[in-house]
């Protein structure tokens, strides 16, 4: 059998075409060189200086963009709407947050080796599941494994029972809600409704230092680009074609001999893992994680970013995440009480008039101007 044996690594990166790599090159220059330089080297009163606020905001939105792309993989390509992505994001944040809490050391309010909330609850030692969380690499391991394992188990039972559509969305939301209630309890050992905050350092470096801010910013950018490259490979592979086939005609896929369970479960778990990584990058940048990250509104917002940008397009969700979140940070200052109305309106307008989101609109306009 004659086969074309291009090494996998090359195929993996070649999936992102020339235009994609050009965009990635440009984005790398911006996020690895220009923004860090403008933030660190230019004086605060310089016209091109990028402020603390801007670096943190963009860094945060890039984490959201990773989540939006992860949502697109499962919703746009596999046709499974999840309203539980806020959970995986929050769990990733909590897993890394445990390390951040341990790194506070004796600098907490109570000068104890325990976290402040544990002292406050009069606990004498760390619960067993906090064991080892003072090690950075173990925390990274938890980020990668815990949310993905939960997703795997939940997905296995849901997909095996052939739960689809709105039913899947509802039970994924129910799971998220249950976890939110669990995390609100002080006894759960994750700081109750205050969650984790007052972080001091990562790997010994101050978390408020500009260099740290820029590092986290660049890491978020790197992760976002990696997510897009991975997404592009997956979606142009045979795996991706089968996934969209499951979305369009699951019955036919089954009668061709594929078991949709494993296909859905794979992309679902990958998607959850990406959310968890995004959450872990998000928490040190915003300096807090609490159970409100698992609220219903958060998971719905993730779906809105993806829908606004354009489902099934990879770059669309990134645009959607930026557009919605940047307008959110402007709106909530200018008209704080109207933001949710605006968000709802945006969702209705996009659903009714722009089923393909912003990317679809752009394609339509370009198509029209070319004629």
């Amino acid at each position: 059998m004659k086969t074309n044996r291009t090494p996998f690594v090359i195929r993996f990166f070649a999936a992102t075409g020339c235009k994609g790599w050009l965009a990635i090159g440009f984005f790398s220059l911006l996020t690895f060189v220009l923004v860090p330089a403008a933030h660190l080297m230019l004086p605060a009163d310089h016209a091109l200086h990028v402020s603390d606020y801007a670096v943190t905001l963009i860094g945060k939105v890039m984490c959201y963009a990773i989540v939006a792309v992860a949502m697109d993989l499962i919703w746009g390509f596999a046709g499974i709407l999840s309203l539980g992505h806020g959970l995986f994001f929050a769990l990733g944040g909590y897993a890394f947050g445990m390390y951040l809490m341990r790194s506070i050391g004796l600098d907490g309010v109570y000068k104890s080796h325990l976290t402040d909330f544990m002292v406050f609850l009069d606990w004498k030692e760390y619960p067993w599941y906090w064991t080892g969380t003072e090690h950075f690499l173990y925390a990274v391991f938890l980020v990668l494994v815990i949310p993905a394992s939960l997703a795997f188990v939940f997905g296995y039972f849901a997909f095996r029972s052939r739960i689809k559509g709105v039913y899947f969305a509802i039970i994924s939301q129910a799971l998220t809600f249950a976890f939110m209630l669990l995390f609100f309890r002080n006894a759960t050992g994750f700081g109750g409704n205050n969650g984790f905050t007052d972080f001091k350092r990562i790997l010994g470096y101050s978390i408020t230092a500009p260099e740290m801010r820029v590092t986290l910013f660049a890491l978020s950018a790197f992760m976002l680009m990696f997510t897009l490259i991975l997404g592009r490979y997956l979606m142009q592979s045979k795996f991706g074609r089968i996934l969209t086939a499951i979305r369009d005609a699951e019955m036919r896929v089954m009668f061709l001999g594929y078991n949709p369970l494993w296909y859905k479960l794979f992309i679902w778990t990958v998607s959850a893992m990406l959310c968890a990584i995004a959450g872990a990058l998000y928490v040190p940048q915003v300096g807090i994680i609490n159970p409100s990250e698992m609220s219903t509104a958060n998971s719905i917002e993730i779906a809105i970013w993806t829908a606004v940008g354009g489902r099934g397009t990879l770059v669309g969700p990134v645009i959607g995440a930026f557009l919605v979140n940047l307008s959110k940070s402007w709106f909530t200052v200018a008209f704080p009480e109207y933001w949710l109305f605006f968000l709802g309106l945006l969702f209705v307008v996009v659903t009714l008039l722009l089923p393909q989101g912003m990317v679809g609109l752009w394609q339509k306009l370009r198509h029209r101007s070319m004629r």
Partner: protein, 266 residues
């Protein structure tokens, strides 16, 4: 054609209740399926021989589609057994497993991947490892390309290779689905109204295709189009109220008073 004559020797109006010892590809025994008290299949017993082409006809509600559902694992029988290749008990297998042991099914309404190209539709159907791990790293190799171009010739879609399948005409979609089944290299092909919505010309060419498959693959065709059934010159089974009413060549069946009463006479 010698296989069919064996069956015809059983005569009309009789169920083939005795399991055929040697060469059966599919053996349904005493299958009963009820939906809310309605018996869609009623003690149905049928045997299909290796490399035989058989047509199944019957009025609406006779149980033709339910029979296909039972064979392919979409519906579970309340009682009775289905054996494939005499040893494989299909009642324990899921739909994908049944597809992998070698049964291909065409649905009544063409079921293809509308957003994929014709080429991709055939690629996904090809008989290869269907597990996730394989699909993640698979490349379209020369073997795949050759198989696909052979199939494209058979189904007359060579000029539409890169076209999105949703834009094909109805008849072309039917052909594409048949092509996908051929890519699966099944031992047994179940075809539910394969020429519905085709032009006369397309129907005739489909008949030629099926006739060319005779003797290479086992085919079971459910059809309403009598001209098409006649073209296939095969043994015909008439289903009625979930069991076999009679069996024989088309002319004999059409002359049967019971058949005329329940079906053709109306």
């Amino acid at each position: 054609m010698s296989d069919t004559s064996v069956n015809m020797a059983h005569g009309m109006g009789e169920n083939l209740s005795e399991p055929i010892k040697n060469n059966s590809i599919l053996q349904l025994s005493n299958i009963t399926v009820s939906f809310d008290g309605f018996r869609a299949l009623n003690d149905l017993t049928l045997t299909f021989q290796v490399n035989e082409l058989r047509c199944i006809i019957g009025p609406n509600g006779a149980g033709k589609t339910t029979m296909m559902d039972v064979i392919t694992g979409k519906t579970r029988a309340d009682s009775g057994t289905v054996f494939f290749n005499q040893t494989i008990d299909l009642s324990n297998l899921s739909e994908p497993e049944i597809a992998r042991v070698g049964i291909g099914r065409k649905f009544q309404k063409p079921t293809i991947f509308e957003n994929h190209t014709v080429f991709e539709n055939l690629e996904l159907a090809m008989k290869v490892d269907k597990r996730v791990r394989h699909s993640l790293f698979a490349v379209v190799d020369d073997l795949t390309r050759d198989r696909i171009s052979d199939t494209l010739r058979l189904i007359h879609l060579g000029e539409h290779t890169e076209q999105v399948a949703g834009r094909l005409s109805h008849g072309q979609k039917q052909w594409l689905e048949i092509g996908m089944l051929l890519m699966q290299e099944p031992q047994l092909l179940l075809l539910d109204e394969p020429v519905a919505g085709m032009t006369d010309d397309e129907t005739e060419r489909t008949g030629e295709l099926f006739n060319s498959l005779k003797g290479k693959q086992s085919l079971v065709v459910v059809e309403h189009d009598m001209a098409f059934v006649e073209q296939l010159k095969s043994n015909v089974i008439v289903l009625h109220e979930g069991s076999v009413l009679c069996e024989g060549d088309l002319a004999t069946v059409q002359a049967n008073p019971k058949v005329i009463e329940v079906y053709l006479g109306r």
